[in-house]
Amino acid sequence: MSNPENLKYTKTHEWVLVDGDVVTVGMTDHAQSELGDITYLELPESGDSVAAGEAFGVVESVKAASDIYSPIDGEVIERNADAVDAPEIVNEAPYGKAWLIKVKVSDPSQIDALLSADEYTEFAGDSSH
């Protein structure tokens, strides 16, 4: 699966869709593929604040538990309850219905520091596939 051009990316394998001062955050295809079958998601509630580079949630596969990191500072305005209920959708549609949280951004300049699709694709490589 190629990484959509309209998204921004982090080196910790999250994607970011920017829409004004609200961003939607999800997990990249590379990340879900590395993790394998995803069995559990822990996400923050609306109103919780998140900070760039800090863990906002946990994703578990059969093998291991991993942190999910926030790309930006801000406040959570929605979390994807469907993904919490049925975490396997992250494996099925990482760039679609399996978004994780929506965040109201407090410092939009942080978005500029994120990777483009090309930069992320090069960073993630496909050596492990």
Binding site: G36, D37, T39, V58, V62, S128
Partner: protein
Amino acid sequence: MGDTTETSLKRTPLYDRHVAAGARLIPFSGWEMPVQYEGILAEHRRVRSHAGLFDLGHMGQVDVVGPDALAFLQWTTTNDVSRLEPGQAAYGMLPNDDGGVVDDIFVYRKPEGQDGYMVVINAANIERDLARWAELKARRPEFDVEVIFLTDHLGMIAIQGPKAEAITQKLTSVDLAAVPYFSLLDAEIAGIPARVGRTGYTGEDGFELFPAKEQVGELWDALMEAGKDEEIAPIGLGARDTLRLEARMPLYGQELGDTISPYEAGLGWAVKLDKGDFVGREHMAKVKEEGPKRRTVGFKTIGKTGAPRTHYEVAVDGTVIGEVTSGAFSPTLNENIGLALIQAEYAGVGKPLQIIVRGKPVDAVQVKVPFYKRAGK
């Protein structure tokens, strides 16, 4: 992530097939082994419903032969090997001097007409087991016995699942329906001579096959081809671990170790105190008589939580009373299950536990084990 190119790792004869099948390979006990192919959940469920093929080329095997083979195994292992008829197998343990366990093992008495026993040991423990047996033999030089390491020329694969017998039957003239569980015979499978044990580590019916190492690939291909209609597929170590956990089979280094008594591990049934003297017997007898201070219990977590994992703390009313030895999301039950070694007074089916998952207590309840039992067993 995923750097699997370390040159010091050993590879089994099936390595190229794993790569071709798209396996993800990981270092495991000095070997580069497949952890998953299509995905752990799918592989696990395939073994429960159809059949799966496992590369066990990393496991160790020894032959124990000589006039005193039986006496030596009686003295150096926990189960009563004298009860085995030719071609029968039994689970047991190799004890240390202090009532703990060096390894857990499978002892097969060879079929009629052959001398001695084959013992299957864990990959991670091969060197310590061989050293232990050498040390014990030096301690009792009067035993006329040889422990011969086979792994360099013997291969090992397993076919497991409800369709395992039907698939294997297509490739042999031996009537497999008549082969009892926990037995060993010599057979030709797809024209390849192999020792065949009706044993396994998944909670399903099936066979463990021991052909010559150079014929492992040929046997693997034959079973894959014969099992096409039954939807056989290769299974990695990830599903092997969840399968054995659902069946409440111990993993050395987690449920078992140097400082855990078999009675604490819930494996007292494989210790036969009345069979005569054996290494560590006094310590084990004392634990049994006094009652183990710790017990291994099965539990499920309540509600939607993170999975319990090895070494997570276990608490009751805020006091730590032990730790998780194995835990996972159970692909068959679709809930979190685990085993924990806890202070004995807190053990009991129905009693509550808290599992500390990433610093937060999660409610759990003790349940009967095994978590999964196949129909008709």
